[in-house]
């Protein structure tokens, strides 16, 4: 079984988001970058397939050399090899088409993307990649387990979950639930040492396809102060919600 885990490098969840270059670019000053949390759940699930079923786990990112520490971290977590496609992503379609070119050259059985990246929040790369490869995509995947030569899967939906069955190849959109928070693998010293010896190949992009362009960024307007209501005056709160905010 060959697994490809698509890794997006995103600002740490506590980062203050600011923009430079007349609001045309994200200000990376002082920002720590992490593995996109949804991708980390996917990577952990892939490592379980590696440990239980001898799967080979490849991680890939589309990005410049600043993404390499994150790929090394994935190797330290346990991935067998890493690939960096050397181009700065322009939009979801550009990323998906580069990943599709790679996946067409190497036959992966299971491709794991995150449900969405927490920076761009496109929620599109997995679906587009699957479409380009003409294989199925399962969004919001919270379970994948082998049964015979097929797989049982679960998708979280609004108000419940869906139980599915399918065969490989397949693309899934990982999120919390696929593995639990407590099961995330923190790289140990041995993992970090081994990661240095593992291959990290840099490959050139194929034809670049783009569908959208970000023109500029904006921050939400500053919020006014909170209106505090005395805990003995619950009627006061209800009144404000009814007559001022008009939400009841």
């Amino acid at each position: 079984m060959k697994i490809l885990v698509c890794i997006s490098t995103v600002p740490d969840t506590t980062s203050k988001i600011n923009f430079v270059d007349e609001n045309r670019a994200f200000d990376t000053q002082g920002v720590t970058f992490i593995i996109n949390p949804n991708d980390e759940f996917g990577l952990t699930r892939a490592i379980w397939f590696q440990q239980k079923e001898g799967a080979e786990v490849t991680v890939v990112t589309v990005g410049d050399s600043s993404c390499e520490p994150i790929l090394r971290k994935c190797l330290a977590i346990g991935a067998d090899r890493a690939i960096r496609i050397d181009t700065v992503p322009q939009d979801g379609l550009s990323v998906a088409s580069q990943l599709a070119d790679l996946a067409k050259r190497e036959a992966f059985d299971l491709i794991i993307t995150g449900r969405e990246s927490i920076d761009y929040n496109g929620g599109m790369v997995g679906a587009m990649l699957a479409t380009f490869l003409k294989i199925p995509y399962l969004a919001n995947c919270i379970h994948i387990e082998k049964e015979g030569d097929r797989y049982n899967l679960e998708r979280e939906m609004d108000g419940g979950k869906e139980l599915l069955n399918g065969s490989l190849p397949l693309v899934i959109g990982a999120q919390k639930g696929l593995v639990e928070e407590k099961d995330l693998i923190i790289p140990n010293m041995r993992g970090i040492m081994q990661a240095r010896q593992k291959p990290l190949d840099v490959i050139q992009p194929q034809e670049i396809k783009v569908a959208t362009a970000v023109e500029s960024f904006e921050k939400p307007p500053a919020k006014g102060p909170v209106k505090l209501i005395d805990p003995t005056n619950i009627e006061g709160l209800i009144d404000l919600l009814q007559n001022e905010a008009k939400v009841l």
């Binding site: 599915l164 396809k209 904006e218 939400v247």
Partner: protein
Amino acid sequence: MSVIVYIESQDQEIKKSSLEVASYGRAIADASGTELIAVSFGLDDTSILKHYGVDLIYAISTEEEVYFNSDRLSTTLAKIASEEGSQIIVFSSSANARYIAPLTAAKYEAAYFSNVIGLPLSYKPLTVKRSCFTNKAFNLSTSQKDLAVLSLSSNSFGIIEKEGKGLSKSSAYQESTSDLKVRSVEKTANKVTIADADIVVSGGRGLKGPEHWHLIEDLANVLGAATACSKPVSDMGWRPHSEHVGQTGKPVASNLYIAIGVSGAIQHLAGINSSKVKVVINNDPEAPFFKAADYGIVGDAFEVVPTLIEKLKALKGV
């Protein structure tokens, strides 16, 4: 030339988010002088769509099919869009809609914009404002393609009644070659979902344990609200994953968000920021959530919430 909207329903009732999408589609069709087409699946009565501006309705019959089939739905939508020469296809931001929107877009390598928060700022080229960095910022994005697919963020446009032509047309439900099959669906019993809710009541670690969640549920019941929770609450198994909201959980864009015993960590706020009105009940006046809230009560949840439930019940006469 036309605008297409994808209509979702539950138990034969059109979802409110789909009426919002239709209203939004109508406004785009008006601005660009084209027709508004609605596509629904397995829905018997589509007559109300006419009153939300729809000119042409494709009510696709899905035969025996009871389950959501992402492949058949996206293929059918893409085919209609191509036959109708549509420039824009609009989806809601429900989990199902956000599943099939990028699948539909990818079939034509179309431009795809999720989390769109208002009408396009321009049409040539198409420019939209969307939220990014999990609601910590917005970006203005333009399309470089003739076909654009949009997912509209909930409650960002509103529902507007307007008469459309309300004609109908039929089309086949496209077959699927995928062998990914739904075996069954497990629904959380009769509950309002976070994605559809006007009001969301959320509980954090301040509630001390799952045995106190009747406070959250009772308050949600009297308000007709969905229930939600912070990440540690679902990590500890007090509540199901599907209720975890925030940067790494579900996004919330309700009209009213009530947070009880939630500190307001940056990752929590990121996911709920686009809710219109935020109420916080927390016994620590220094809790960061007060800075992000519209209304706040500094008090003990175990005292404040039962009173709130009681007063609301009296008000609603239940």
